[in-house]
Subunit: 240 residues, 2 copies
Amino acid sequence: MEALEMLAENISVVFVEPETPGNIGFLARAMKNFGLRTLILINPCELEDEAYYQAMHARDIVEGALIYRDLHEMIDSLEPDFLVGTTGVPGGSYNVDRIPLRPSQLADAIRPSSGTFILFGREGDGLSNEEIGLCDMVVSVPTSEEYPIMNITHAAAIIFYELFRDREFRCEGLEEASAMEKSLLLEEMDEILSLIDIPEHKQRVASRVFRNITGRAFITAREAHTLKGVLRRIKNRMKG
Amino acid sequence: MEALEMLAENISVVFVEPETPGNIGFLARAMKNFGLRTLILINPCELEDEAYYQAMHARDIVEGALIYRDLHEMIDSLEPDFLVGTTGVPGGSYNVDRIPLRPSQLADAIRPSSGTFILFGREGDGLSNEEIGLCDMVVSVPTSEEYPIMNITHAAAIIFYELFRDREFRCEGLEEASAMEKSLLLEEMDEILSLIDIPEHKQRVASRVFRNITGRAFITAREAHTLKGVLRRIKNRMKG
């Protein structure tokens, strides 16, 4: 978890010439959903109410946004370790051809301790070839060929999700049953199977089916407890 | 790639009581970005211009959306093989607790050949406990604890992305049990439960646990056949 916090601390999100205030808000909200805090706006549109409205509880990120007139001024001032460009047109007509990374590859490549700046381009035209040329890496979300142009903040949410995909779930009381609990279940089931009149090889098949299903079903500790009680009673009734 | 096309064909996206037309459009666009086509709206707000505007080139998906008055009517009419609920609050206060899957786990679990319906809830309140109770599985995007509530269409885009990330499907010759086959299994189980000596409310809990597990475990037709035979013999032995 410490690595994820360091990562969140060291990533800056750069929105280059945003055209609609609402998208600045949507972007800020997606950032905060994944623990990101630093937003940089390059020559943005007016920050109208809509930006704060769509940000919801990420209003603080919009309010604290750093604003620069152009990308060069930002780079000179903040000296990023890595610039990551995003594009919806993989393999387009960039001067320097490069293979865009998938979001998962970006996640593997990023170092939590480096100052990484992720650039999102204008809603209409994306990043220019010159801007892409400044970047150390380019990332693209794999999409349907029929309609590859994503909403910019949807693409951002997917990239943020990938960067923080190893985050733990907080789901108290919903722990998966342990291997021990599951094996106790299977023992009960095997006993039950031994009480019914089927050939041994069919018993083995049935036992295996139970084992496979139990393995696949993400059974919680509480569910395993319920099941074990029921199986015990079935067994007793069959013996009785 | 054929498996991905089959997957896209067999997934339906259900938006339950959407409150703002813009979000219907954003959702349709995200669907089309990943090759999804079937949108179902349950008791939606008026489909104003904003819905079509935000859909951009996915206007056809909004125009072709199926509309139902409530979820039960939709289920009766379309008979989904799998209902997947989405929630931003993992480990809530559901009657029968279950572990929410991560989007990547959902992607691993889904069968391209089954009719899978993914439910997204109201922008403000999400899905109700009753609606979640109807689902075979629940999926949740892991987020920052500080601000876990995502924009609904951002969460949808992340889930769609995971479903169609480039991967091989391992599914040859392993058809999933049909809804009918599974419901026969559950009937056998309920009969068995009625034969053991436990209070009625515990019987109901146990029945629900079996239903949830069966829903989650992607039981093949062959496995269902084995299980049904075994359950029938258990029942007979208990009666005997």
